[in-house]
Structure formats: C-alpha cells, structure tokens
C-alpha cells in the first residue's frame, strides 16, 4: 500500500489512549492511566498488523510508558531516565485532548462548505505569449537542483523500512524471552531491563514481559516492597 494512503487509516496512540480513558468516563489522571494500561496494550497487540509500520514504534513507546508507570507502582525503586524524559504522559494527553477538541470544531467549519475563493488568473489578451528566460541558469545548475530534489525523497522512501527496523515485533521478542526464561528459570527484572540495548528494545521487553505474565507463562515474585522482582517460568509451557 502506498505511504500516502496508509497514513490516513489509523489514529495515533494518544488518540487511542484518550478514547480508552473517555470510554471509562475517567478524568485524565495518573491513576486513570494505570486503569487503561491493560486495554491499551491489548489493543496494540490485537491491531498489531494494522498499525502502519512507521507508527508502531510510537504505539509501543506509549505502551512502554504505561507499563513503566504500572511497574513503578509495584516497584518504586525502578527508574529509567529515558522513559522519564520529556513531559509526563498525563500532561501530554491533556494537551492532546485540547487539540482533539479544537480539531472537531475545525471539522465542523470545514464541513459547513463556507469556503472562500481566490480569483482565477486570466492573462491579458493583447499580450502575446512572451519568452522571458531567467538569467544565470545553466545545465549544471539544473542538474544540481534536480539531483537535490531526488535526494530529498530518499528518507521518505526508506521510512517504512527504517520504522519497522525500529519496532521489532513483540512476537519475536516473546519467543526470545521464552527461551531465555526456560534456560535461566530465574531472571531478575532489573537485569532483564538492563540487558536491553536501547529504548525501543526496552519497550518491547516490557510488553513481552506483560504478555508473558498475562499468558501465565511467567510468574512475577517480589520478596519485599523494595526488592527486585523475580521472574519464574510456570508449568504452563
């Protein structure tokens, strides 16, 4: 499917998050975000194949930030500078909501059909077609400008591929994790996270972990309030 069409079909992660919060008739608070973490992650999982590849990473990042919030609630010592970076999700969602409401008003204006129209330019009749070449244009300048325009397209064409490379599939990661858990049996949550190479991988690890817990493949154990979480493979596999 061409990139120009694909983009129109799916709304972003904040839109999804806002819809979930509103469908539960909740205010936007840190607590309500915790409440919609599960449906959000479930939605991302279920619509995985339908999310445009260039947007997948953004959905995963929001999912990761939600899971991070939730994990922090049970494991207060957990901190990750990267996931803490930038405005918090709550602020971001409030801001998004303000613009989503404005967009609805703009939509009403657009649909009212009250457009303005400019003039149609009509060349004066008496002026015969003129030839007024610009100064200083050379074949080499044309070459340079054309080449530059063509080069400008390259990142756009590479976009779906680079985005996909960014967002490794959750399923793949689950497989890896399952293998790791089978061999190790015990795996520390902290170590698990620290082994992630970058933010994106961490995001996926988070999701995969959540997945495994929900599928009852992994059991999460925590000895004390501030101690590390231990991951254990259950008999389900």
């Amino acid at each position: 499917m061409p990139y120009s069409v694909r983009i129109e079909q799916f709304e972003g992660p904040l839109d999804l998050l806002l819809q979930l919060v509103e469908s539960e008739k909740l205010e936007i608070t840190s607590v309500s975000l915790l409440q919609v973490t599960e449906p959000f992650v479930r939605h991302v999982r279920e619509h995985h194949g339908k999310i445009p590849p260039e947007e997948l990473a953004d959905f995963l990042i929001v999912a990761a930030r939600l899971v991070y919030l939730k994990s922090k609630a049970i494991l207060p010592t957990l901190t990750d500078p990267e996931l803490e970076e930038g405005p918090d999700l709550e602020t971001q969602l409030r801001m998004y909501k303000a613009f989503a409401q404005a967009a609805a008003k703009i939509a009403a204006l657009a649909n009212a059909g009250r457009s303005s129209y400019g003039r149609i330019y009509r060349a004066p009749k008496r002026e015969a077609p003129v030839f007024t070449p610009p100064n200083g244009v050379t074949p080499n300048l044309l070459r340079e400008l054309y080449h530059r325009a063509a080069r400008r397209l390259e990142p756009l064409i590479a976009l779906p591929k680079t985005s996909l490379e960014h967002a490794m599939t959750v399923e793949e990661k689950i497989g890896q994790l399952r293998d790791r858990v089978s061999t190790l049996m015990h795996s520390s949550f902290h170590r698990f996270l620290s082994e992630s190479q970058n933010k994106h991988e961490m995001v996926i690890s988070f999701l995969a972990l959540l997945e495994l817990i929900k599928l009852r493949i992994v059991r999460v154990e925590q000895d004390g309030h501030f101690s590390d979480i231990t991951l254990t493979l259950t008999n389900a596999v």
Binding site: S4, P129, V130, T132, P133, L142, L145, A149, L153
Partner: protein
C-alpha cells in the same frame, strides 16, 4: 449578505465580464434587482475608498482595478514575468527538464509541495508548456524548446548525466507510489 456583495464576490471569483442576465441567473434574482445591486456596488466601491471599481458597458459588468493603481499594478505584473526566478521555480524547471513531460501530480509527488502557481508562472514566461500526451486523465507539462536553446542545449538529452538522473531510483519509486495510490483510491 447583501445582493451587491454577493455579485461582487461572483464577479471577483469568475474574473471576467458578465452580462446582467448571467448574473441574474447565477444569483437567482430578477433583472431589476440585479440592476439596482450593480448600481449599489458601483457606488459602494467608489465611496468606500476601494482599490477596485465596477466597469459597465452595455449589458456587461466587470470588476477592475482602480486607474490610480494602474502603474504599480502594471509594474508588478511585469516583474512577475521578467524578474528573477525563485528557488522553487528553478527546482520545478529542473525536474521538468530532466523528467518531463509529466503531470502536475507527478511533479508534486517529486517536489512534495503543491505546485500550481509555480507552473502557471513558468508557463506565462514561456519556459514551460503543455505537452501533447495526457496521462491518468491529466495534461502533461514539459520545458519549452526555447528554454533549452537559451541554455545552449538542443534538447533534454544533452543535460549533464541525463540518462542516469532521469531514472534516479528515488524519483522512480516516488512516481510508482503515486500510481499505486491511484489504483488504491480507484
């Protein structure tokens, strides 16, 4: 909105002289009402310090610029025709030289920007013209022979690295996306 304002908008947008009968049809009013409104419009433009005026000859009416602005307006239009080409115009010219003839959507797909005004300007200057072959139901545009001659070439083939750059893979792929999106939306 008053009838005279409505008629003003109509004459403004269509940009050509219109007969009172056609105006009456367009605004769904009777000729006497239109006649009154045309008088009101003429008077309002004259008394409100407008830069435009209503000219009437026989049964037709036309909006034109005020004669006091004639000199400046003429100079500006001349400047548009003879001044330096803007960067976007030069880029458009180079894309049409290497890759033309092409349709406007194809050109825009490569530039990534809506380009109708630029095409209009390049055509007014005789640097770009409609070519014979239409594609996807759209007219195609290419640079004129006169322009090639002006830069000392007998045709596109003599442009530096012509065959290599004409088939530039990024350009090729962008144009294929356009075809694909057409098929998709069809």
């Amino acid at each position: 909105m008053t009838l005279d304002a409505l008629i003003e908008a109509l004459l403004f947008a269509t940009s050509q002289p219109m007969s009172a009968r056609k105006i009456a049809e367009a605004v769904s009013q009777k000729p006497p009402e239109v006649e009154d409104a045309l008088n009101a419009l003429q008077e309002r433009l004259a008394s409100s310090g407008s830069g435009t005026r209503l000219v009437r000859s026989g049964q037709t009416a036309e909006l034109v610029t005020h004669p006091d602005a004639a000199e400046i307006v003429r100079a500006a239009l001349k400047q548009e025709l003879h001044g330096e080409l803007s960067k976007p115009s030069l880029e458009t010219l180079s894309i049409l030289a290497y890759r033309g003839p092409m349709t406007r959507p194809e050109l825009e797909q490569i530039r990534g920007v809506q380009s109708s005004l630029i095409l209009r300007n390049l055509m007014l200057r005789g640097l770009v013209e409609h070519k014979e072959d239409a594609r996807l139901g759209q007219p195609t545009y290419g640079v004129t022979v006169a322009f090639f001659k002006h830069i000392g070439l007998s045709g596109a083939e003599e442009l530096p690295d012509y065959s290599e750059l004409r088939g530039h893979s990024a350009v090729e792929q962008a144009l294929q996306e356009l075809v694909a999106s057409h098929e998709h939306s069809a």
